[in-house]
């Protein structure tokens, strides 16, 4: 059973092709890393899958139904830099936002929802910060709040956009642990990622992307020097170093 199948997505940005004919299908209960050089369209791909950007063509199905009808089982962790952290709200409020499409229009969050949101904060080790204004949290703590919000959604398919960017080591560990828990619960996770060193440890599937897909499949078969060279083009110096360490760790 495929949790997500993407067919022929193309996106133009300022009249230039940002993504060309991207197709892949993700099996249920896997953790997929979306890897590629800067400007390869990794975030654009996630956003166009989630219909946050207009696409030129293509269609997306979640559990074999159009994604539009499946939004309640989709969790999303956007890039931390995309929101205004000076917004007058606290950590618990942000987590509660994960429940908004369950709470329904015009209604306020009831006790059950609040308790659930608090449990999610606790799971990411943030229970003591529930009433803290969000601008007074560190980068790692802000990312944890976003994770708790995603958890609060209780989704089946999760999309994470560079969750490791600018976080401390313990938060990175917490994110990994959470991803593995999700996987164990049969959930499917897609992660935009750029640190090649950790790819083998974090993901069981990899999508190598540079405007169009270079390779997709299980990490062992796809994450090879040949494929990386194809995806990253001329940046050889950086390239040769990264897969070398990958080989050591396998």
């Amino acid at each position: 059973m495929y949790a997500l199948s993407v067919k022929d997505i193309s996106v133009t940005y300022d009249k230039q092709l940002a993504l060309e004919d991207v197709s892949f299908a993700v099996p249920e209960g896997s953790i997929t890393g979306i890897i590629g050089p800067n400007g390869a369209g990794k975030s654009t791909l996630i956003k166009s899958i989630l219909q946050l950007l207009p696409t030129l063509s293509g269609n997306v199905e979640v559990f074999h139904k159009p994604i539009k009808s499946q939004k309640k089982i989709i969790g999303y962790v956007p890039q931390r830099s995309e929101v205004d952290w000076d917004f007058p709200t606290n950590a618990l409020d942000v987590v509660l936002m994960g429940r908004y499409n369950h709470i329904g229009l015009f209604k306020r969050a009831n006790k059950k929802e609040v308790t659930w949101a608090k449990t999610c904060l606790e799971k990411v080790g943030m229970q003591d910060y529930a009433t803290r204004q969000i601008s007074q949290l560190s980068g790692g703590q802000q990312q944890r709040v976003f994770l708790a919000r995603a958890m609060a959604q209780d989704a089946k398919v999760y999309f994470m956009d560079e969750p490791f960017a600018g976080v401390d080591a313990s938060t990175e560990k917490a994110i990994i642990q959470l991803m593995k828990e999700w996987k164990a619960e049969g959930k499917t996770v897609l992660v935009v990622h750029h640190d090649l060193q950790t790819v083998n440890d974090y993901f069981d599937h990899v999508l190598l992307l540079n405007k169009s897909p270079i390779a997709y499949g299980e990490t062992q078969t796809v994450f090879t020097l040949d494929n990386l060279e194809q995806a990253y083009g001329g940046k050889i110096a950086f390239l040769q170093k990264a897969p070398a360490t990958v080989k050591e760790s396998t």
């Binding site: 989630l50 946050l52 969790g75 929101v83 936002m97 209604k107 306020r108």
Partner: protein, 289 residues
């Protein structure tokens, strides 16, 4: 204090008070969301663009039926907003410049039309110039009722959409990602802004009504880190400014209402800037010391 006593004996008093209070409250509440969405200047363009709408309706139909005039105001306000969006989307002109262009074009057109009306209409043509700076004293009972009831409806609508506005302003990508109709919520907010501008221009005037949308929320932000409290406080600040402006301008003849409202809102702002319990300069100084 003759002026005061004659004011308080006025039959319209209760309605003027209710109207200015509710209008101020509605502006503060709606303005909070506008401020957080970083669209304060667009609301100023909407307000200025209301003037030609009022004049065009008057020239076309030669009536001074307030609801008609305000409908015209709403139409030109929306055209102005749409024009700003179009300019930003279709050219290299940035938002601030686009707003500047639209404010001056629409307001200029409004002034030209107003002058034309004053020179060509017979007799006292309805005092349309009070739409520029606002004149609470010239309002008749039905005008004030329209303001009061309209503002009350807008406050209720904003309260209903509180949660939806919050998420679609704080994190629109996430909101869209989980399937909320963010574009629709943005449209509702836009409608609320146009509505509050339109019902408020008779009292506050097109030039300064944006200040009633901007200043109370900024002041409120100095006192709280919670959106709920911010909107309520902004409402209260707006109400205080509205009532004091209406009372003072009515009591002292010929004092235009808009400027008095803005001055009292500004006073609240300066107090908040220094004394505000969350972001005030004094508390910040103490924390850094």
């Amino acid at each position: 204090m003759d002026a005061f006593s004659s004011f308080f004996s006025s039959a319209n008093l209760q309605w003027v008070l209710a109207g200015s209070l509710l209008l101020g409250f509605a502006s503060g509440v709606i303005g909070s969301f506008v401020l957080l969405k970083r669209q304060s200047l667009i609301s100023d363009a909407m307000a200025h663009a209301a003037l030609p709408g009022v004049c065009i309706i008057y020239i076309l139909f030669q009536v001074k039926s307030v609801p008609f005039l305000l409908a015209g105001a709403a139409v030109t306000s929306l055209i102005a907003t749409q024009s700003i969006q179009t300019i930003v989307n279709k050219s290299r002109i940035k938002t601030d410049a686009a707003i500047g262009i639209i404010i001056s074009v629409f307001f200029g057109l409004g002034i030209v039309l107003l002058t034309y009306i004053q020179q060509n209409s017979s007799g006292n043509q309805a005092g349309l110039d009070s739409f520029i700076f606002g004149q609470a004293a010239s309002l008749v009972r039905s005008d004030v009722q329209l303001i009061a009831i309209g503002a009350l409806v807008l406050i209720i609508l904003t309260a209903l959409f509180f949660k939806e506005f919050k998420i679609s302003i704080f994190d629109p990508q996430f909101a869209k990602g989980i399937g909320l109709p963010v574009t629709f919520f943005n449209g509702v907010l836009l409608f609320l802004v146009v509505a509050v501008v339109v019902i408020g221009i008779q009292m506050v005037g097109v030039v300064l009504i944006a200040a009633l949308l901007i200043t109370p929320p900024i002041s409120a932000r100095y006192w709280t880190d919670r959106l709920g409290w911010m909107t309520i406080l902004a409402g209260i600040f707006g109400a205080i400014a509205g009532v004091s402006g209406a009372v003072l301008s009515t009591a002292f003849n010929n004092l235009p209402t808009g400027p008095v409202i803005v001055l009292s809102a500004s006073l609240i702002f300066f107090i908040s800037l220094f004394l505000g319990s969350k972001k005030g300069l004094i508390i910040k100084g103490v924390k850094h010391a």
